[in-house]
Amino acid sequence: MKGTLILEDGSHFEGLSFGFLSSSAGEVVFSTGMVGYPQSLTDPSYKGQILILTYPIIGNYGVADKKYWESEGIKAAGLIVSNYIDTPSHFLSKETLSDWLKREKIPAIEINDTRFLTQKIREKGTMLGKIVIKGDIEFYDPNKENLLPKVCANQIRVLEPEAFVYHAPGPSFAQNPANHKKITVLLIDCGAKRNIIRSLLKRGVRVITVPWDRDPFSDTQPAMPRTLTQEGKPVFDAIVVSNGPGNPQMADKTINTIAKALKRQIPILGICLGHQLLTLALGGGTGKLKYGHRSQNQPCILSKSKKCFITTQNHGFYVNRIPNNFRAWFTNANDGTNEGIIHKNLPIMSVQFHPEANPGPMDTEWVFDYFLERLPQPPGGQSK
């Protein structure tokens, strides 16, 4: 069965379908990461986007069990690759990429010249597009909509580090759980990748996740678990604002929550969308990149140093005005865009890249430690 990718400029590209047989529309983006398609596809930040993978040979290691994914299912609206491999070979593979896509009802097509598509987007900027398989559909601009409700849980969850099993077969020296016992972090879930939670849990941190629109400081819903004590004090020591899809301006509720936290001088770490939201809450500004950063090889220079980190990124919006009292923490070595901000002395900081990796290099995982080590001593959150 054939499908067609139609771009908003009218161009179209035909290819064999290897996913679900239905049409899908969204914003067309490309990622240059060479490994980790299961992690990418389940990354909630891809919500509403049709993903082109520039690495041409995809499907090689099939799809592993759910527990290795970054959310409970595929979030991208569609997938375009050059050469789909239907004969995976890997000990963790549970099913082929094609079977998975079909099960998750996500269309995918093989378009030979993904390089041409990439160059087109590079030249003209991100475009709207649609995969048409059975019957045409309208274009759809995910940035005009608030996508967060579509990707995050609407419940509060409490996760204890003791119950945590680290599944990913990573290097064994990545864990040092003793360090941050007794700390509770409130994770504002705007479509959080699971590895943010794993990265916290494996450091011994207790994690409470709240939906993007939930105000943890009003705690009006009586249902357990609560984010405030009886006395109205927060039950957490710090806040992590997660990654997520779309335009940061849409997440006004999260921005409000962050503003409240700032007033209370609660330590905050923002990641990706969280970085943009923190910036906006602080009065800084954001804009849209021509074609975004989606790759596993983005070099970020630590400000005022010659130190540079290779990072994983997946974002279309970026911070273009650093708020007062903050300074640039990281800067992209390729295009000079901001990659992180940090308060002059308070433990309030954020990064545009993904310190939790998955997919991608794990070189910036230390950001979690850096943040946790800077929390006020002794740790609060006595009410555990």
Binding site: I57, N60, P359
Partner: protein
Amino acid sequence: MIIFWKDYRSRREGKVNSMSKIKKVLILGSGALKIGEAGEFDYSGSQAIKALKEEKIKTILVNPNIATVQTSKNLADEVYFLPVNDYFVEKIIEKEKPDSILLSFGGQTALNCGIALNKRSILKKHNVKILGTPIKAIILTEDRKKFADHLRKLKIPTPESRSAKNINEALKIARQIGFPVMVRSGYALGGQGSGVASNIDELKEIAARAFAFAPQILVEQYLHHFKEIEYEIVRDRYDNCIAVCNMENMDPLGIHTGESIVVAPSQTLNNFEYHGLRSIAVKIVRSLGIIGECNVQFALNPNPRKNLLDYYVIEVNARLSRSSALASKATGYPLAWVAAKLAIGKGLTEIKNKVTLKTSACFEPSLDYIVVKIPRWDIEKFRGADERIGSSMKSVGEVMGIGRKFEEAYQKAIRMLDLDFEGATSDTLLDNGKTITELLKTPTPKRMFAVAAAMKSNITASEIYRLTGIDPWFLYRIKNIADAEKNIPPKLSKITKQNLLELKKLGFSDKRIGTLVNSTGLSVRKLRKKYNIIPYVMNIDTMAGEFPAKTNYLYLTYNANHNDITPLGNKGVMVLGSGPYRIGSSVEFDWTSVNTAINLKKYNKESIIINCNPETVSTDYDVSKRLYFEELTFERLADIYDFENPFGVIVSVGGQTPNNRAKALKAYGAEILGTDPKNIDRAEERSKFSKLLDNLNINQPAWNKFTNIKSALSFCERTGYPVLLRPSYVLSGTLMRICHNRNELTHFLQDKTKFSKDYPITVSKFIEEAKELEFDAVSQNGKIITGAICEHIENAGVHSGDASIVFPSQKTSRRIQKIIEETGEKLAGALAITGPFNIQFLVKENTIQVIEINLRSSRTFPFISKITGVNFSELATDAFFNQAKEQLIHTKTGFAAVKIAQFSFARLTGADPIVHVEMSSTGEVACFGKDTKEAFLKGEIAVGGKIPQKGIFVSLGGERNKILFLPSVKKLAALGIPIFATKNTSIFLDKNGIRAKHLYKIHEKKSPNILEFFQKAKIDLAINITDEKFKKDIDDDFAIRRSATDHNIPLFTKMEKAGIFADAVTDKALDNLEIKSWSEYIK
């Protein structure tokens, strides 16, 4: 990761010598090309020199390999054509007083030299700083045991292994670990001396061999069918670390990475494995304090228990390596250039990406294609050599195919080998009586073809996996190729556009498709163009399209629908490179290709290089205007020609492969610059050339071509023996050989595989005891522009690639030289030569005969260019544009230069290390001196020769050899060290007043035995000269030669070479040898 963060803080203010103090840097090269250490170090050294020059740092290069690009005029400030060892390098340091030295750009040779210099405190004494990775780290990584201990402290596993100092210890350890075990030796390259032992006897044998090269060996747990994965890591002084490339070996662990088919990036690793191993590699590199480049090799369990990352570190190379050259070409990231910048103190963020010229060099390339590297072996060229491949290297070169499907890149790479394999399904090697299962089970160069054959005979992927350890992922891709062949309609007219397009996307050649549909490649090409199925030109941009590339590093693919570039048209000139290095064609042709590309600028032309060998400088994209990393097949060249529509094509600077394409390209309508392909054909086609010689009254050895025994025999009776046989069927390893009498000849001709109606044989009169001379020249429109005559030290009968060659000629009279020049002029005129050419002559008692002519640049081109100071390659380019000015023929210099071949017999187990008419050397060096003896001695040391200090073994077959060589033995005796000899030789020597101890032959198994003295290292020079007319029942001479080689004892098998060596070691003392730079010889 916590560790990283802490590391980062503590190392943040890394103290490094400030760059401004570096003014003059000594760079060590790797010497002659040998198995395990080949052209990749020409690439890395050249990039290092360029990187330093850009910083206005003076560079002094030590490298006796005269055929390299790095020893060219426009690169290093000073070049020393001297051996890369601590003795000579100290002398050079004393003279040049460099402030720093680079050790990591010249392979294991340079590294070992650096370690020796350090051990003897020479660097400290002369205040020379080691740039880049600290020597402590180098020493640590070279000592396998210490390194394993180091990793244990980091909680990083290595295979269980213990070191042994003798065979008994080794046996004990093996019993503890359990068989099979792997034996390895430290401080060696390309797995020399290593092997897998599955029982006690095998272990004894392998260990004995290993101890010949190293004092200590490791006995190690053998990891059966693990994956072998490599990472190329770069680190700067600010502790920035990047993984430039990861690579996956298609062959499992146990096959050396240099012997494996390798893909980049890895294909079967998921995110956790890819980035998990990457993090570990980075951690190791940080722990060592590497500054520059480093290679980390992993073993990865494909089926781990508990779903954990089950891996071991195999080794770390703290220097540029073969893999890093491959990684460089695979990604477009100039590893060596960057490593040099980091060595002088730059940070990664201070360097720009050389491809985009905009983004940072501190990043990890993203590929939107796959590369497949395949080694090129020439094992069948070595009589007796064991064809099995394993943990030690035997291949002599490699190629790299680029595509957007594995199938495409793989089939391209197979064709790039230039062995007439049309693709993955080629079966030319399989017709040898072995079953498919046998071929799968025992790794040999044939195995890759056995896989496709097995697929065709419906053996399952899982069975093939069990036999080979090749991951099913790769097997399915090959199955895809095999299946596609099955489904082709058997007639060209039945092929649809869709059929054809699919086949081309899978990398099938027109020719292969032609064969499958009972047609020809050209007809398929015609149909293909009618259907408008053409390959597209893609740019390698390091960032998968995210940023535009400013350079033109290109490949062609059918898996795309647009071109990244537009044609150069009339401004472009295609320069065909050499293809893979192999016996008989190597770095010398890269030198000419690079020079030609550079010289084209003079004529306002833009060079378009086509080559497929990742070990070369010509495939650095800053050498040419456009680089097509592509096949040198007619099909591909025609595709590029169609696209670029260039001014012309140069076929005469890349060796025989491009030369072979001349005819077809011309017939296709391509404009060939230089000699008309019609005339190339007249020179190459034996009978045409013979007629030409007759017409011009030029002598040649009598010869003829035969298809039946009778006429061959009667020819030989007429001309007399010995005769030289050239079979026309060479794939089976049937080589040129000399027959000394009727018996030998009939015996040979009775073998149907070597001689039949379909495989005629060429028989020439073999001229005994003739001198061999080479005439290299450049001609323009049939008029010689300039030329030079070189003389072989060995008599004819030693292939010109193996012979020691001296310039200026020492024993050739002016009269003979004149005749040679005149003959050259006649031939140049008759063939209307424009461009480079080479003629080989035999001279005996004033008669001069021509053996052959090559209408292309020859192996000796860089040699004569560098010793005369006249760039013959540049003149050749001038000639292509009709602008060359005539010069004198070069006959004189104020010094002597000798080119000496490098042999790699030690690696080719079982091969007879004797030199003969068939070439067997893998590389060469050339040194200068006051006279031939001095130049020879330096050269001999540079290829691993030693001045004997313990004992000399002599075995002279036949009366004549004994008498002729007696004066040389007398000289050697004057060295005052014991002389040992076989029975008859010792009697003869005793009679002539030389005391020689008799040693029993190896097969006699009596003491004192040759083997025993070899083993105990009581002999450090072996001379074995046989009487070839006399065939013995037991080839005891072979046993002597082989065992000398296996014990790392320098060996001479030809009288003339042994003689000049005897002269040289007795007349010259090491400290009298001149330490002069190239520019002191050639102003």
